[in-house]
């Protein structure tokens, strides 16, 4: 029975040693830093005029059930060139964190793509990454005649920028993962 006794002592020791772990604490709330809640595209007419903003805002993030709220501040003017810039925010944090900064820091791994279904507006890149490939945080938008169009902004992470057409803004061969894909359905040009 000596063996039994020794074994029981060993059991108890092991049990005591391993049980002294953390007691149940209240878990701390996690502030997600990578979440993109808000995309704001600011369009400033080159020759002066009304600045137009397009915004997609999803305050409960991509894990929440609520869809993004889409706002278009006004109508675009026909036959006009706009300087565009994109700002990305994480508004789940206080104060809101700029994700555009992070995209800029890793510009070789990111690229915006722009498209419109009726081709009433066309886009071109105004900025470059460190390798001289387009990034798309800065762009120009040119309107043609009046009408309504669907405008889509897509941000790809780790696209293949050397693939055919990608540096001209064609998403077809880009690959990578979609970080952002937002469409504004009623962009009016008048």
């Amino acid at each position: 029975m000596k063996l039994l006794k020794n074994s029981l002592i060993a059991f108890t020791t092991v049990l005591t040693l391993t049980s002294c772990s953390d007691d149940d604490n209240t878990p701390s709330v996690i502030n997600e830093e990578e979440v993109i809640t808000t995309l704001t595209a600011t369009l400033t007419p080159v020759g002066g005029g009304e600045t137009i903003t397009l915004q997609s805002r999803d305050l409960d993030g991509d894990s929440g059930p609520n869809p993004p709220v889409m706002t278009i501040s006004g109508n675009l003017t026909a036959s006009t060139v706009y300087n565009g810039s994109i700002e990305l925010l994480n508004e789940t944090e206080m104060p809101a964190e700029s994700i555009s900064e992070e995209v800029k820091e890793e510009d070789e791994d990111h690229q915006f793509f722009f498209s419109s279904t009726s081709n009433l507006v066309t886009f071109s890149y105004s900025d470059e990454d460190m390798d001289g490939n387009p990034l798309g945080l800065e762009f120009t938008l040119t309107t043609s005649q009046a009408g309504t169009d669907v405008v889509t902004f897509t941000l790809r992470h780790e696209p293949n920028k050397d693939a055919d057409g990608v540096s001209d803004g064609d998403i077809t061969n880009a690959g990578g993962e979609t970080d952002i894909s937002v469409s504004f359905n009623n962009v009016t040009v008048q």
Partner: protein
């Protein structure tokens, strides 16, 4: 302690003669069965020093006369018993009681590859050491596929989970070295954390008929057993080294065992393996490299009557996930499905980049047992398990090197088992279990927790009876009760809380309000009763059958209760439900077995009705800034599974053998009147093998594996609008891949290096013709083909 009794009966007064040796002593002995105390007649007693034999009479008694003073060694043997050696000191007339261990099944189990042992009443199959060694560089799941009725559900080729009769994950329990594995077994992308090299035999018990291991194994149990050690002064070693062409993989496994005659032993084992990117038939599978390490140290003392051991084991797996399977939204999923090739292919590399998993599982176990004469055996066991799981995803900025999943799961278990086997025809087992588990998701990941903080408490009791009604009939009955309590603390987004309509049922569990989130404290109690009954009957010398019934209950796992959020890599939002209740399974099964010199046939059938079957299925889409995602929700339904597994082997002559293993299974969702998802397709494996013992124990086998197309699947396809093109496209996540046929070849020889040393050389070719195929139950089938040809060369040295 070896000398059980050494008593003087009488004192012989001798003639004082200091120089004459006295050889007039008598030894009177009794030989008993240790278990039930019955005297053993016709036992042989051999005294090597004297070269004399005697045997026991009908009362188990024997007498040896004319013994000289001094030490005497007896070897006692009896049919069906382990031989025993006893040393006694003759210093007068001596009486000696000897107990022989009549039931040796604990020490030396008779196993037949892949066939049921019909003295049991459950559907149990066994993989022997030789079969396991072939998979030394592979995984548990791959090895288990050798058993008819067992298939796997994979995420690539390194994450392989066993499916038993259509059920997997939390519905299959895995026991290694008598410890129930406690890891994040709920996820399909969570492989069991065991090193197959620690197992001497692997047992698969279909259905919940192994209640000693748990009452919730609705699918079945996989039991990995280590080697039983001999009582002898030996040092044994085994080393396996192998290399594979596909993935330029290598593996090494070494085990050293030192045993002492007195019962002490020490066993050390370590294995490591590594592979680079695998190759499909036509292209490289980028980022499928992996690295594994496993080690086991076992120290203890054992003999027939008592023993203890302390065991430590560690398994560490770092596994890359196919890069092309990492996608961003449904649009990417559609392009991946529609592309014939993965969208991301690079040159071969051993690098493991994100997305990847890094899992470390450690087990510390202490075990003690004692046998009591004419009563039975008591086992006490404590174990501690520590499971650390990291998952790395492709992230940006400062968080680039941070894991997205960082879970620490710690489990303490204490269990006891009492086996009363004094009557060989009626063996009873009683056991208890208490366990405490803590899950800690590290907030340092800076992403919302997939699985919340929780404590889980378990307590269980069971009773099992194994009755031998007559020479040909066995009856087993088992009853078990388990209590499970889950106490969790979880954050919910207020918008999700409202969308789930939890306020109606759970408003009282909110303990804090933090801006956009609630902190809630759900506490769930589950009472589970499980029952198992089985009967086996030997019709004649060649055929037998068994029939069994199992009732089991399974409490929902944390994923089913708490999942809430976007799995970017799976391109879907998964939602658990706090209202989900236990599953109840009623399963009946029957086996017919025929064996003669030529033919071995085994047919197993089962039907399993599961109430409250917890299933995940699509329930709409949600719009996010990344685009639209399908929502998959855990819901309850009623399920019915049934199937047949066949294993037939025919010995054509001394050297040639043909074998067929086939399985057929159907799964139905009774509420939706539709097929269940993830049910294995019909599969048939035919093997022709040649063995010639004279040619260095040469054997070679050619195998054909035919997997049919799964035509019974729920149609979960959905359409989605691609905003960029304003087109509505079909997302085909349901259609199953076509049937495929693969040919495999394996061969081995034994080279006798010396009296003790044998070198075994094995060649193993899988997918000989480099066929391009996709398996329905591989989660990565949307993105890439399965593995192409693989040539493996392996040597094994026993020393």
């Amino acid at each position: 302690m070896k000398h059980i009794v050494a008593a003087f009966v009488c004192y012989i007064i001798s003639i004082a003669s200091a120089h004459t040796q006295n050889c007039e002593y008598t030894l009177q002995g009794n030989v008993f069965d240790f278990h039930d105390g019955t005297p053993l007649s016709a036992a042989t007693i051999y005294m090597k020093a004297l070269d004399r034999y005697t045997t026991t009479d009908i009362d188990g008694k024997f007498t040896v006369t004319n013994l000289c003073k001094g030490a005497l060694t007896l070897t006692i043997s009896h049919i069906g018993c382990e031989s025993k050696t006893v040393s006694i000191n003759v210093n007068g007339n001596v009486k000696q009681e000897i107990n022989l261990e009549h039931h040796i099944e604990d020490l030396n189990e008779v196993v037949i590859n892949g066939t049921v042992k019909l003295n049991r009443t459950s559907q149990e199959s066994v993989l022997k050491t030789k079969d396991i060694e072939t998979f030394s560089g592979s995984s548990l799941g791959q090895a288990l596929k050798q058993i008819s009725g067992v298939s796997t559900i994979n995420t690539g080729n390194n994450i392989v989970k066993p499916i038993i009769n259509g059920l997997h994950s939390s519905r299959v329990v895995i026991i290694t070295n008598n410890v129930r594995l406690q890891d994040q077994d709920w996820g399909i992308e969570h492989a069991p954390n065991v090193d197959i090299n620690t197992a001497n035999t692997i047992h698969v018990i279909k259905g919940a008929n192994a209640l000693a291991y748990g009452g919730d194994a609705i699918g079945g149990a996989v039991v990995l057993k280590p080697k039983t050690l001999k009582l002898a002064d030996t040092l044994l070693g085994k080393t396996i080294i192998g290399g594979q062409s596909n993935g330029k993989a290598y593996h090494i496994n070494t085990a050293l065992t030192k045993t002492w005659k007195k019962g002490w032993y020490i066993k050390a084992q370590a294995s490591t393996k590594q592979n680079g990117d695998f190759k499909a038939a036509d292209y490289q599978l980028t980022n499928t490299a992996s690295k594994s390490f496993g080690a086991n140290l076992d120290v203890g003392f054992h003999n027939f009557e008592k023993g203890f051991n302390v065991n430590y084991s560690i398994v560490n797996n770092e596994i890359g996930i196919l890069r092309a399977a990492h996608i961003g939204n449904v649009e990417n999923l559609v392009s991946a499905i529609n592309s014939r090739q993965p969208l991301f292919i690079r040159d071969f590399s051993y690098n493991i980049n994100a997305p990847k998993q890094d899992i470390k599982h450690q087990i510390l176990k202490a075990h003690f047992y004692k046998r009591f004469k004419q009563f039975g055996k008591l086992d006490l066991q404590y174990n501690f398990q520590d499971n650390q799981r990291f998952e790395f995803d492709i992230r940006v900025g400062d968080d680039r090197d941070l894991p997205v999943v960082d879970l620490k799961l710690k489990t303490h278990t204490f269990k006891s088992n009492l086996k009363i086997d004094a009557n060989r025809n009626a063996v009873f087992k009683f056991g208890t279990l208490v366990s405490w588990q803590n899950n800690f998701p590290n907030p340092e990941t800076r992403v919302r927790r997939l699985i919340p903080d929780y404590d889980k408490y378990d307590a269980g009791v069971y009773g099992i009876s194994n009755l031998k009604l007559n020479a040909s009939t066995n009856l087993d009955l088992a009853l078990r009760y388990d209590f499970t309590k889950i106490d969790a603390k979880k954050f919910y987004l207020k918008s999700r809380w409202a969308e789930r309509n939890y306020d109606a049922d759970f408003s009282d569990i909110i303990i804090d309000d933090i801006g956009s989130q609630f902190l809630v404290n759900p506490v769930f109690n589950y009472h589970n009763v499980s029952l198992s009954a089985g009967i086996s009957y030997q019709i004649n010398t060649s055929s037998s059958w068994l029939f069994n019934y199992g009732l089991s209950n399974r409490a929902p796992n944390p994923a089913e209760l708490f999942s809430d959020g976007l799995h970017v890599s799976a391109a879907r939002i998964e939602l658990g439900d706090l209202r989900i209740e236990q599953e109840h399974s009623n399963r009946v099964a029957a086996t017919y077995q025929f064996n003669n010199e030529k033919l071995a046939l085994q047919i197993e059938g089962f039907a399993n009705h599961i109430n409250n079957f917890i299933n995940i299925e699509p329930s709409g889409t949600e719009q996010t800034i990344r685009g639209a995602f399908p929502v998959w929700s855990y819901i309850k339904t009623d399920a019915f599974l049934y199937g047949i597994d066949v294993n037939a082997s025919y010995q054509l002559n001394n050297t040639w053998n043909v074998n067929n293993k086939s399985s057929f299974i159907q799964g139905r969702d009774l509420e939706k009147k539709d097929a269940l998802i993830d049910i294995p397709a019909i599969k048939t494996v035919n093997t022709i093998s040649y063995t010639n013992k004279k040619w260095l124990n040469f054997n070679a086998a050619l195998q054909s594996e035919w997997v049919f197309k799964q035509n019974n699947y729920p149609n979960n396809n959905f359409t989605t609008l691609i905003p960029r093109t304003q087109q509505t496209v079909l997302v085909d996540v349901s259609s199953t891949p076509p049937a495929y046929h693969l040919m495999h070849f394996n061969s081995s020889i034994d080279l006798k290096l010396s009296h003790k040393n044998t070198l075994n050389v094995g060649l193993n070719i899988t997918n000989m013709f480099n066929t391009a195929y996709r398996e329905n139950l591989n989660r990565l089938r949307f993105f890439a083909d399965d593995l192409g040809r693989n040539i493996q060369l392996q040597i094994k040295l026993n020393y």
